[in-house]
Symmetry: C2
């Protein structure tokens, strides 16, 4: 395996009833800003649990974080932070709320450091921020892994920009699977697919004899397949929700990605589909990933065989195993009721040029674990995904 550094200081409180652990995490004299999205936490009881836990704190709230969180919305939170002298943030929601909170935490201190500082530079210039407000999270939608990593994706116009810092790990994250019972089928499906593709982006590349990372990735994939195949028909099963929730965290807390090559082409191409056509992030992944497997079949050959054998228990010739592994993946995605082709979302060959133009604009011209997915190969992938 390759050399690596692994560090993840986020404290996880997992299980039903863990929301009350907020009190052991946030200092009693903190001035807390609770950040959330569109209000689903008000209908599913999470808002109530959080506010009763915060009863003895000075706390305020900021809502309206969008899916694919907008830079401009995050910037509005900075005024609230300044006005109320906030010194601790609490994200309550899914990956979008947590991503936005990370950016807000960093931007608040960046502006405080120097009033001429423009937080937009954090995203566009990949600035190394020096500090961020401390924050915790209450996760209600298992998918992105943002509750246990330092990364964030923010959107402005049709740009999706990544940022991350050693200062933007959550201090703590509460993972109560009960909070996920009120999710729609679409949300839970999207979460399973997002976690699945996070895992294969770090696994389905080329072998470097990293046996632990491979086995852990395979374990996550097997769990997502087992639980994902049941969850839509067994909607009140808390054990399934718990396993999906922990899988999604493990898929992107850094552990399976250390010391191994990583791909991420599916994500980069998928981001443009979201930006141009508003397709849910996970659904862009389920459209693009099967095509990536097919087009990069030769370069991913050894890992595709290992994936077929270990994750899907396939046997036969190498080529039979690869064919079946790809087919099984698509079937699983279909079981999860997500689109697996561009035509499934009413896009066609005539839409490809615009996607490629966006990839070019964002300099996404050397993707994949070999950095060999240029615009020509991206076109092949998109054509295969028709």
């Amino acid at each position: 395996m390759n050399n690596f550094t692994f560090y993840n200081p986020t404290r996880i409180h997992f299980g039903v009833g863990q929301i009350e652990k907020i009190k052991s995490e946030i200092p009693a004299n903190a001035r807390v800003l609770v950040i959330y999205g569109g209000g689903s936490i008000k209908s599913n009881g999470v808002y109530e649990q959080v506010s009763s836990t915060l009863a003895e704190y000075k706390w305020f709230e900021f809502s309206g974080i969008e899916p694919n969180p907008l830079y401009d919305t995050a910037m509005k939170a900075l005024d609230v932070i300044k006005h109320h002298n906030i010194d601790y943030l609490l994200a309550v929601g899914g990956g979008s709320v947590i991503d936005a909170t990370k950016f807000i935490a960093a931007a608040a201190l960046f502006v405080e450091e120097n009033h001429n500082n423009d937080p937009w530079d954090i995203l566009t210039q990949q600035l190394k921020i020096k500090a961020a407000l401390p924050f915790g999270t209450v996760l209600t939608l298992p998918a992105t892994g943002s509750e246990s990593n330092s990364g964030s994706v923010m959107t402005r116009d049709d740009n999706k920009l990544f940022f991350g810092s050693v200062h933007t790990y959550p201090q703590f994250s509460i993972l109560d699977p009960q909070t996920t019972l009120s999710l729609s089928n679409r949300q839970i499906s999207n979460g399973v697919i997002d976690a699945f593709v996070h895992t294969v982006e770090q696994y389905l590349t080329y072998p470097v004899n990293a046996k632990i990372q491979d086995r852990f990735a395979e374990g996550i994939l097997q769990t997502l397949i087992e639980e994902g195949s049941c969850v839509l028909n067994d909607q009140n099963n808390l054990e399934i929700r718990a396993n999906i929730m922990w899988s999604a965290t493990m898929a992107l807390n850094g552990l399976i990605g250390v010391g191994v090559p990583q791909d991420w082409a599916t994500h980069m191409i998928g981001h443009e589909l979201t930006a141009l056509h508003g397709i849910d992030h996970a659904r862009t992944l389920s459209i693009v990933f099967p095509a990536v497997m097919k087009i990069k079949r030769k370069q991913k050959r050894e890992k595709l065989i290992q994936y077929g054998q270990r994750v899907w228990n396939l046997c036969g010739t190498d080529d039979e195993i690869i064919n079946q592994a790809i087919d099984k993946t698509v079937e699983f995605f279909q079981t999860m009721q997500v689109p697996t082709s561009l035509s499934d979302v009413n896009l066609g060959a005539s839409d490809i040029d615009a996607i490629l133009a966006k990839l070019k604009q964002h300099q996404m011209i050397a993707l994949g674990e070999h950095r060999d997915i240029d615009l020509v190969v991206s076109r092949e992938i998109l054509e295969k995904a028709l």
Copy 2:
């Protein structure tokens, strides 16, 4: 799965050449005490690498930490710390050196807090310490996982006592697999067995539908079996060493043990064998664990079947799978050239009473995941291990 809290803030630098990362971890103005064992680090080049990396620091050294580190030796380090005004510790060695360093780090500040404080109380009264000196580790013997957890086992006379605190996680640990190439076959075997039994202590209990933890544990076991079976005949293979090293860390960094029942009876009985007869820790485990599987076959039935099917790819009736799983485990231990019975270390039925007396003295009278291994059952286990 059960509710849990997971927290592990240790930064891992993994790979050949990572020792130089010490400089990015220890503050430039720190006064460092390098703690090591019997001098093997002087013959294998690690001492030289560490001292050249520390060239610009004020640093001192304390050697002579024993395998099964002695309380009295650790206490001598406190004088050195006081005399030289040490404020950072660096453990260089295996689990014993790291365990001792944790205790020294805690004891130093415990005594500083109040000169009447007796560090022995930390161990005997399970005191909650309030602080510890910061420390890092350079691991040279993959086995105990101490490089990535907060626990420590110290020995005084024939007592082995455990302590751990949120303050005794290493700040960082350097895992360079090259440092393990000079280990003897016996040391590397012991390490593989130690990591293997750490894993089964957290896995081979009863099912709670914790799919990620189970799959991760199975992945560690499979890796240890694959690499363990080769390492003694392929002694210069750095990739094998790397996989063993990362397996041993993963086996006891807390991850596979969250939210699941844990056993640890093998360890508790094994500790008495070490204390009474000086048998290497890992070799007590390879003697006791097969007997634990046999005696607790009924209570561990479901997990034994899962272990047989998933780790050893066995098929047949449930009982055939269990029989073969136990046999395969013993065969693997024998491949690793460790004893698998008391007679292998020249102990017999007449030695059992003394072991039971020690278990009684140490109140080890309700062991295992069901707390149902009393002295009667421990006798059965020891008789089965004859």
